[in-house]
Amino acid sequence: MKFEHNNMEIQATASLAQPLLEMRRVSKRFIKPLDAAAKIAKLFGARLKEETVHAVDGVTLGVHAGEVVGLIGESGCGKSTLGRMAVGLHSLSDGARLWRGEDMVPLGRQRGGNSPIQMVFQDPHASLNPRLRVRDIVGEAPVVHGLVAKRQQDDYVKSLLERVGLPQTALTRFPHQFSGGQRARVGIARALAVKPEFLVCDEAVAALDVSIQAQVLNLFMALREEFKLTYLFISHDLGVVRHLADRVVIMYLGRIVESAPTDELYSHPNHPYTQGLLAEAPTLDVRKKTFIAIKGELPSPLAPPSGCHFHPRCPHAMARCSIERPEFREIAPMHFSACHLNGN
């Protein structure tokens, strides 16, 4: 399914088969409207503009069935927003969200019981309703949607708990009675309860201890096998994504800057930002490190730099970089990067 025109982004995702989920040139802008006082001031000539945050800016991302795509970026890059757009929690300012090639109906207007896309959240504290017992946290949605009869709720939840490695006694307990790792498992059970095909994991292991993180990552891998799931795994942790993902996508300030199969990305990073990230990540190498930092800080998404967003911090920036947005091009098989250094 190749496209005639130079639309590399679409080509990048529509290679072999149709992706399960496709975000096609999506953008999300958060606009803070002027309140009444500001509107009046504006009438009198004050130079006030509405504040617009370009959280996601023209992103195209496709995930194929059975794939694990790792989405890496730092705070403020828009990866969480993109994740929420993928599941439908945020509406799209531009672009389209396609499921098996067809436009997806927005969350509020969906009918029917199954939600094929679910999310596993980051914060094990805030993502579970502190007033509900586990049986209701996990069992409410399937019962409400008719997947499971009310009288079978407990049995159904127990089977899910077993699958995620929690004891049966967890059924009647409240979230505060569990540790962080156990709460993460409850969150996974809740997502699995409605029989999804696609899971977006938004920093799902970031808040966990290393040893628990390993357990939960193994759980993700096992569940993927068992339930034939597809993942969009959002993280800032390069090591975790390297272990889990088939393909890795790097985001910076609302845009995708590089995308490649995992091994390729980690061995031959192309974009200067990716190179910087990989160089900076602490490793268990005991030779005393001089930490090579990417200088500067993430610019404010209210006023992103012109042209290539990364140019103020890029060690290889040229004049062109501040004027023209680099094209997201294929530079090696299935390896895409948006950088002027790759030629015109």
Binding site: Q215, H236, H243, T283, L284
Partner: protein
């Protein structure tokens, strides 16, 4: 033999509640020389933060330091009373927290807070204090330090705030800084910047550093020595090279094995089964034995400290093989 800046011997902090006594810190001992960076590594519930707070004297009821000694340059800190401790905190020992807003007052300007810290411990004029503050901000790499002094904390980004917190910690040239997970909440790039700043600062000023973290990889690049804590006890300690390249305690070994970089892509990761035991329900003897594949009847007794040479110590009856010897 150089005299240590900090000497902690058998520090024990208990938390009493109706449900029992929680031994948050259970006989912790270590020492630090001037300019040395020590990583104190452990997961949640290991007691690493409580150790830091105990040294600073920040433990309040129902917690209490019930035993042990903490000597700063020979001076005993346990039990000296709040008045004296206050003159030491921020002056001889400083602390940096995970959330910089625990150091920074959101309603005061940065210069106000910094000048306050300086004047509390040094006998200088306000103008001099302001100068010291400005220099400190410059040292931690905050651009246009002079202007930024008059800003409020909310006008800084997260990484910048943490740098300001570090600057405040360095104001009175402390002999020891305790950092409690200061970069855990920050991005890799910012963490990198802060780690490089800390390395530089310690080298320049000869300040000793205790870096409390759960991330062994940060410690690997930064620290000279490392102590691994589990359930309130130090289970292994030694130089960073020794401990990371040749861990003897099964917990350390397991922890290292959990790191994604030590695992093969696509295959299940090595994991430590089970969870950290609750402090109120610690098993007798070695607290790790319920999760340890090498545990035996012997482990029902608390293991003693074994010295493995070159400062490498551990507490285990069934240590892992010494891979460095073999190599």
């Amino acid at each position: 033999m150089e005299k240590p800046v900090l000497e902690v011997k058998n520090l024990t902090t208990h938390f009493t509640s109706r449900a029992g006594i929680g031994k948050a810190v259970n006989g912790v001992s270590f020492s630090l020389k001037a300019g040395e960076i020590m990583g104190l590594v452990g997961e949640s519930g290991s007691g690493k933060s409580m150790t830091g707070f105990s040294i600073m004297g920040l433990i309040d009821a129902p917690g209490k330091i019930v035993d042990g000694s903490v000597r700063l340059n020979g001076r005993e800190l346990v039990g000296i009373g709040e008045e004296q401790m206050r003159s030491i905190r921020g002056n001889k020992i400083a602390m940096i927290f995970q959330d910089p807003m625990m150091t920074l007052n959101p309603v005061l300007r940065i210069d106000t807070q910094m000048v306050e810290t300086v004047l509390a411990h040094q006998n200088v004029s306000t103008a001099m204090a302001l100068q010291i503050a400005c220099n400190a901000l410059r040292r931690v790499g905050i651009p246009s330090a002079g202007e930024r002094l008059s800003c409020y904390p909310h006008q800084f980004s997260g990484g910048m705030r943490q740098r300001v917190a570090i600057a405040i910690a360095m104001l009175n040239n402390p002999e020891l800084i305790i950092c409690d997970e200061p970069t855990t909440a920050l991005d890799v790039t910012i963490q990198s910047q802060i780690l490089s700043e800390m390395q530089k600062l310690c080298k320049e000023s000869g300040t000793a550093l205790i870096w409390i973290t759960h991330d062994l990889s940060v410690v690997a690049g930064l620290a000279d020595s490392v102590s691994v804590m589990y359930a309130g006890r130090i289970v292994e300690s030694g130089t960073v090279r020794e401990v990371i390249e040749s861990p003897r305690h099964p917990y350390t070994h397991g922890l290292l094995g959990c790191a994604p970089s030590r695992n093969v892509r696509g295959r299940p990761m090595q994991q430590i089964p089970g969870m950290t035991p609750q402090l109120l329900q610690l098993p007798s003897g070695c607290a790790f034995r319920d999760r340890c594949a090498r545990a035996s009847e012997l482990c029902r007794v608390a293991p003693h400290l074994v010295h493995a040479g070159q400062g490498h110590e551990y507490r285990c009856f069934h240590p892992m093989e010494n891979t460095r010897e073999a190599a």
